[in-house]
């Protein structure tokens, strides 16, 4: 009887390209990105950090609704997204609004989503995907379906989904990865391991040493990657995408990262379950700091560049909030209207009732 657990677990090593000091530690895997691409990646990370700060402030002023902070996870979210194509289909979780925005969801619509207005979920035609999933795990099984559909249609694109460390405990997580494996479907499953599911640390979530190893049971490829290293996340995603479109099947990618802020803005207090020491330890690994150092060494980024992006972000956010404010308020009659293609009789009656109510 051979015991294999330890040997399997030990084979999952965290993949890194750029260390905390912005030094390349894995030359062989340094992605082949142009200077413009590198600058664009940095621009997106800086922009998204500003968007996070502004969103938190706007939420506190009562000008945004539901919001799950993203700071700390930029490399994980944007490095992965940068390796995708416009035709790919995104199935994000509630924290993954940035990926949708960089895929082309207008900012004001992201704000309307936050405010609980369904126009936020009416995507432009060239943005393929779903609005952020609230039910943890649901997106994983759907991803298997989208991926199988892409395969059946002979498309050269992939289905890409995100969950957190907590999400890996759901049955849907295993079902989704297993289905995609069984159909050899072009899917990429991300687990953004930010160490906590609300208050529950990942050690209490599972006895597994890594979350990437969960791929093994489904017989699919799995990687653990430094989620604070944008180049590593990009490189792994790029490879997973190539494998998927080449018919080599799905990949599970664990990005090891951290969320600096509270779980959401609805009353979570991280001091109840995390120490300042832990926060500080992770902030030293900050994805922006290390990538900035890397770019500065290449003379590709300066303080002026940084400030320009910050100002640009602030301006665009301001304009988008204004546009969201101006968007017509959502009414109950609008909700009735979107329930079915054709209104059934009970809703026809209720439509009349609420029209009258709303006209008062």
């Amino acid at each position: 009887m051979k015991q294999v657990l330890e040997s399997i677990e030990n084979q999952f090593e965290m993949f890194q390209v750029l260390d905390e000091n912005g030094e390349i530690v894995n030359k062989e895997h340094e992605p082949d990105l142009s200077d413009d691409d590198l600058k664009e990646l940095m621009r997106r990370m800086v922009y998204t950090r500003v968007l996070d700060q502004r969103s938190i402030a706007l939420n506190r002023q009562g000008r945004l609704g539901f919001y799950a902070p993203t700071a700390g996870q930029e490399a994980s979210q944007l490095g992965s997204h940068y390796a995708l194509e416009q035709e790919d289909f995104l199935l994000p979780a509630y924290r993954d609004v940035p990926q949708l925005i960089w895929q082309g969801l207008p900012l004001y619509q992201a704000f309307l989503f936050s405010r609980g207005h369904f126009h936020g979920n009416q995507f432009p035609e060239d943005v393929h995907g779903l609005s952020p999933q609230i039910i943890i795990g649901a997106q994983y099984t759907q991803t298997a379906g989208v991926a199988l559909g892409l395969k059946k249609r002979g498309k050269q694109s992939v289905a890409v989904t995100y969950t957190g460390d907590g999400g890996t405990s759901q049955g849907d997580f295993y079902e989704g990865v297993n289905f995609a494996g069984a159909y050899n479907a072009p899917a990429i499953f991300f687990v953004q391991n930010n160490q906590f599911a609300i208050s529950v640390p990942v050690e209490k979530q599972t006895n597994a040493k890594t979350l990437a190893q969960k791929a093994v049971a489904a017989g699919v490829e799995g990687y653990q990657v430094d989620g604070m290293d944008v180049l590593a996340v990009y490189a792994v995603t790029k490879k997973a995408r190539e494998r998927a479109v080449n018919g080599e099947g799905p990949t599970l990618i664990e990005t090891v990262t951290y969320r600096y802020g509270p779980h959401t803005m609805a009353g979570d207090d991280p001091t109840r379950y995390r120490s300042d020491d832990l926060d500080n330890e992770w902030e030293k690994r900050d994805p922006l700091i290390r990538f900035r150092k890397y770019l500065e060494a290449k003379n590709l980024w300066s303080e002026e560049d940084e400030n320009r992006v910050i100002e640009e972000a602030k301006e665009e956010i301001k304009a988008a909030i204004k546009k969201a404010d101006d968007y017509p308020k959502q009414k109950v009659t609008d909700l009735i209207d979107i329930m079915h293609e054709e209104l059934p009789s009970n809703l026809q009656e209720q439509m009349e009732e609420y029209r009258e109510k709303e006209s008062k």
Binding site: G65, G116, G137, G167, S199, Q205, R272, Q330, V332
Partner: protein, 325 residues
């Protein structure tokens, strides 16, 4: 007597039961150190330790199955489902397994489990958090469904639920958690399950509700009093089974009924309550029984929540309709 919020009363009840019965276990997502996202289990892990009050991995079906397994080992589990919208994940564990345990074992096993979950709307949550899904559980034979509307009832009903040897689905309206305080004795006490409560005496019309709608009904009754309409308000408290005795007694006195629920017209338990009344007391009715409910859409995106939720004006309108019939 202490003035407490409903959430404090609920914590109190769990505290008593953890203390008085060492088989009581409390678990769920974030219920340990964090004290639950609404702080219902605040301080309980500190006092009773991780063996009795603990976090689970993030999986509602797992929580349901774990509860049933622990019950089979003689424990009295009190799992929390973090928000009502997540019961879909646990539906097989709840309706498929827990509710049927006594039956399928030929009465040789039982499932003394109390599943607690926040529900209801009006607090601007994202999708699938706020909802009134009580109908899904109330329609499952084998489950009792309990919905308190006051801090006093919450404590007494939760203690009764935990002590009951059959499964109870215990629903806590999110809007009532902290919106007001009420008298709650420090000592333990029980409130009888399966018994409705007359929250206001009246003779002209019976308003029946549960959860937050009891307060909507009471507010309507107060305004109606100005118009010399004397409304009786019944709080169902247990919505499966229905206490028809208390209801019929009231109907015989008032001869008019308005049934109020926050759930959509096609959901909840209103249709069942109305059916029970007409089967038992049709000759006592002076008017058809009318309903105040939410419309038959999916729970609204939060921006339209206020108009979507039934309010006391809707109740008053229906009262006039049954009075002027």
């Amino acid at each position: 007597m202490a003035q407490k919020t409903m959430i404090q009363a609920i914590t109190d009840a769990m505290h008593h039961e953890l203390k008085s019965d060492e088989d009581v276990l409390i678990f769920g997502e974030d219920v340990g150190q964090n004290g639950g996202v609404f702080r219902a289990t605040e301080g309980l892990q500190d006092e009773f330790g991780e063996e009795r009050v603990f976090d689970t991995p993030l999986a509602e079906s797992g929580i349901g199955g774990l509860a049933l397994g622990l019950a089979l080992q003689g424990f009295r589990p009190v799992p929390e489902i973090q928000f009502i919208g997540f019961i879909y994940e646990a539906m097989d564990a709840l309706n498929g397994q827990i509710a049927r345990m006594r039956y399928r074992s030929g009465d040789s096993k039982s499932a003394p489990i109390t599943v607690r979950t926040p529900f209801g709307g009006g607090v601007h949550t994202p999708e699938l958090h706020a909802d009134s899904l009580e109908g899904l559980i109330a329609q499952q034979p084998g489950f009792r469904v309990v919905v308190p509307s006051t801090p006093y009832d919450a404590k007494g009903l939760l203690i009764s639920s935990i002590r009951n040897n059959d499964p109870v689905f215990f629903m806590e309206h999110m809007k009532l958690y902290r919106s007001f305080r009420g008298e709650v004795p420090d000592e333990e006490y029980t409130v009888e399950l399966d018994k409705a409560d007359v929250k206001r005496d009246g003779k002209d019309v019976t308003l029946i509700g549960y959860g937050a709608m009891v307060h909507t009904a009471l507010k309507a009754a107060e305004e109606l009093e100005q118009e010399n309409i004397d409304a009786e308000v019944i709080d169902l408290r247990t919505i499966s089974p229905i206490d028809t005795e208390t209801i019929i007694e009231s109907v015989k006195k008032t001869n008019r009924v308005v049934m109020i629920q926050e759930a959509q017209r096609q959901a909840g338990v209103a249709a069942n309550v109305i059916s029970e009344i007409q089967e038992r007391a049709i000759l006592h009715l002076e008017a058809p029984i009318l309903r105040v409910t939410a419309p038959d859409t999916v729970y609204p995106f939060s921006q339209a929540e206020e108009v979507w939720l039934p309010n006391h004006k809707d109740v008053i309108n229906k009262v006039y309709e049954v009075i002027n019939f």
